[in-house]
């Protein structure tokens, strides 16, 4: 969401920028005054961004046919094709584009419809700094995923598959008039995909002003039961994992593993007396740390199954194999999605660097580090999803941070947590 999202130092960036073509943004609004205002306020960015402006959805689609764009920023309420319809078209024809809404509408219906297709939602009036930061992040995160094909895959994702059992529980709970938002949030927090989607909607301005929402419960309280009901039942922002057998087993294991990692990372972060923000990011980042695997297994199932099989056979960590095949690991793919969806930066970073916490920060203990430890400790235990899909503890990092002697305590906390879970 802001400058911190800058992942690479300036030198590296220059190299990458040279590889990537110019960044192009298309603005769509039926009010010429708005377009003129945007053009002027972003005039200072003219050397970095190439900007185009369209007054209707139809005209925008014509422009997209003529040349390539990276980001589209559209109004919702327009004569003819509205913003939601335009974004649906864009999603189908140009899946790799980043789709952002900039709207002053307060019509709930229209907002709900855009919840499935827009990556982020900005409300008018939106100040220049926020607009610029949002566009900046959207354009910079491309550097996380160099491959356009992979960007298409992630960008096309409008929902992540949920386990049928959790989804059924959610639908059932929606029919219960007695249920509280908090309880609803607790159900959603049992599922990686639903958690990610809910946090996207709460952290972007889909249903109000910007705010930092770190947990599904908070998001559920903030959005309200009616909105969650409408989102679940009519717009289908949550989807159910359809396949059964080995794939379902994989997803089930992934979900359980993710929940444990989130909780253990939270325990470790608390033990290290980190700030509340980092503790929250450890919990939710931990829950979401393998969201990239969910994206890959749902969207490229054959390739991904092969990766898992090869990793198992050759005894390498699966993310090594992911990098060989896709040019990026599930950590980066997951982080890219979360950045795209406008989740808090700490959370995205925690996911991005959960294999190599040193890349996140060499000097402080971050949520990425807590998740890294929790992940590694979980993998040590029998019954981890892929015994071969190891995640070794980054000892060099711990040495540099002088935290090596903390490891036994973390292990003890982890074992205590696991035992508590088994007793319960």
């Amino acid at each position: 969401m802001n400058e911190q999202a800058l992942l690479l130092d300036n030198d590296a960036k220059r190299v990458k920028t040279a590889v990537l073509p110019v960044k192009r943004v298309l603005f769509v609004d039926d009010d010429q005054n708005i377009l003129d205002g945007l053009k002027r306020t972003l005039h200072s960015m003219r050397t970095e961004w190439q900007m185009a402006f369209s007054a209707t959805g139809e005209e925008a689609l014509k422009k997209l046919e003529e040349s390539e764009f990276d980001v589209i920023v559209t109004d919702m309420r327009m004569p003819g094709m509205n913003g939601s319809e335009l974004l649906t078209e864009v999603l189908q024809r140009y899946p790799s584009m980043v789709r952002i809404v900039l709207s002053g509408t307060v019509e709930h219906d229209l907002v709900l419809r855009s919840a499935a297709t827009a990556h982020q939602y900005l409300v008018k009036p939106c100040d220049a700094a926020t607009l610029r930061a949002t566009l900046d992040t959207a354009l910079r995160i491309r550097e996380v995923l160099i491959s356009p094909k992979l960007r298409s895959v992630v960008s096309r994702v409008t929902s992540l598959p949920s386990l049928p059992s959790v989804y059924a529980k959610l639908v059932e709970s929606l029919e219960n008039p007695e249920i509280s938002s908090r309880e609803m949030g607790e159900i959603i927090s049992q599922d990686v995909g639903m958690t990610a989607k809910l946090l996207q909607l709460a952290n972007s301005a889909f249903f109000g002003l910007y705010r930092y929402v770190a947990s599904p419960s908070e998001a559920a309280i903030y959005l309200g039961l009616d909105t969650i009901r409408a989102l679940t039942l009519s717009t289908g922002v949550f989807s159910v994992f359809q396949e059964s057998g080995a794939a379902e087993l994989f997803i089930g294991q992934l979900q359980r593993h993710s929940m444990k990692v989130g909780m253990v990372a939270n325990i470790i972060a608390k033990r290290e007396s980190l700030s509340k923000k980092i503790c929250d990011s450890s919990l939710i980042g931990g829950l979401l740390h393998d969201v990239g695997k969910l994206v890959l297994s749902a969207n490229c199932p054959e390739e991904y199954n092969e990766i898992l099989a090869v990793a198992r056979k050759e005894g390498v960590a699966c993310y090594e194999r992911e990098r060989q095949v896709f040019g990026a690991t599930h950590a980066e793919i997951g982080a890219y999605l979360l950045w795209l969806w406008g989740l808090p930066d700490e959370m995205c970073k925690a996911v991005a660097f959960h294999h190599k916490p040193a890349d996140c920060s060499e000097t402080s203990f971050t949520a990425a580090a807590a998740i890294h430890m929790a992940d590694a400790l979980e993998h040590e235990v029998d019954g981890a999803p892929d015994p071969d899909c190891r995640a070794d503890i980054d000892m060099n990092y711990l040495n540099r941070m002088a935290l090596v002697d903390h490891v036994p305590e973390w292990r003890r906390l982890h074992d205590e947590f696991v035992n508590r879970g088994e007793r319960a």
């Binding site: 005054n33 708005i34 003129d36 205002g37 002027r40 306020t41 309420r77």
Partner: protein, 539 residues
Amino acid sequence: MKILVADDDPVFQMLLTQMLTEWGYDVLVAIDGNEAWKQVRSQGGPRLAIVDWVMPGLDGLEVCRKVRAERKNDYVYILLMTAKNKSSDLLTVMEAGADDYVTKPFNPEELRLRLRAGCRVLESEERYRVIAQTASDGIVTADETGRIQFANDAAAAIFGFSDGELLWRDFESLAPGYLECFARSGGSANSPEAPIELVGKHKTGREMPLEISLSECVQGPQNHRLTLVVRDVTERKRTERQVAQSQRLESIGQLAAGIAHEINTPIQYVGDNIHFLSESFKGLSALLAAYRELECPAKNAPEGPGLRDRTARLAEEVDIEYLQAEIPKAIQQSLDGVRRVAEIVGAMKELSHPGTTAKCAVDLNHLIGNTILVSKHAWKLVAEVTTDFDSELPTLQCIAGDLSQVILNLIVNAADAIADTVKDKGGIKGRVVISTRRCGDWAEIRVSDNGPGIPESIQPRIFDPFFTTKDVGKGTGQGLAIAHAIITQKHQGTIHLETQKDVGATFVIRLPIEGLENGPAESQKQIMVTHERTSFIAR
């Protein structure tokens, strides 16, 4: 059934008691008139009585007169027994209030049949009494002067009286002006289906809204009787107010959402432009400083060319040509935006400000213009709204807030109707035309759309409360019902529909130009009232 035998002759008492018991009656005996009177008056006392004319104390005639004067709700059927059989005597008996008579010596079979006739009368009376008492509406009958002859429990409860207290009161004291009100409502006394509403008085002096239906029965040449069915509509009035209020909130809510959007848009570009102006100013300041330096030759002589280059580079960086072209436009558009916001806020303020129920002079054209402006969000994507105003139209006495709510409801309905067809017509916007015109003593407002029209099948129902063709959650079906109430009840105007399939629909509102006091509606009605009064108030 209980029967009273009042006779001072013990033999006769015995004879009758035996006979009546055999016929299935439950016999009570009184040995004189006073005793008979006491028994008849007592709670749950006999309703059927055989009374001898000649008795010690009160005689039979006096008992009859007392019973009839008592005006109790429960009717007592009196059969007088007498040895006198001259026709003048019989007249005396009937005049005193007896229902029937038997002469002594009597034929037992005749007595049996006459009693049976009495029972039939009492049964019928009882049946209607029970119906009246059970009714939840107040039921009152009054004589031709309006004095109450009968009132059921519900009526007593409505006015706060206890059982029987209402008898012989003038109904006028409970519902002042009810007869005039009936006359004015245009209903006649013989059409009980047109109830009136008026303010009634509770025993405590509290006022309450009542709904009263009236029917007049003519019983014989001199006996007019009024039957009044009275209902306390305090609760219903409250509900109606709430419904009206919620519709108002609904339209305000729709408006607010639209207005938020209409205001957000200019604020977005005004903000962007000011941001741009501020950045531009920074660039221009730097450039200005550089030019100033250039103008000081003494200071800059040694490094002149370098400074010149730097200044040129700065001018390029600042993009001076772009700024020169864009700054005036940015300022102009910002001013436009601010004016737009001010217009919307101003219109909104004017519409919501009067907020009271008081009438004041209203410029109809201005009010409609404002309403179009604030409802822009509802129509701008689907229709062009044009106006055709009669600039000569005088001001009207209106409740501005209510009237603009009516116009708003009609505009929103027209836009909704058009919206359904815009897609079919390949995205071509529809048309809404709002015109004002003077027609004699009336001001006429026409709201026309070129939507699909309103099908004949639903035309009779469009002004009904809760009737809606919109999807659940889209409309409460109150818009036109409220519009109708506001126009006809609060402004004494009329509203009707002209429509043709696939051509469109036009709502025509007519409002009296002089307002309520001496407007055309009133003068027309006056004639009717006078007419009604002559026919009806024949007290």
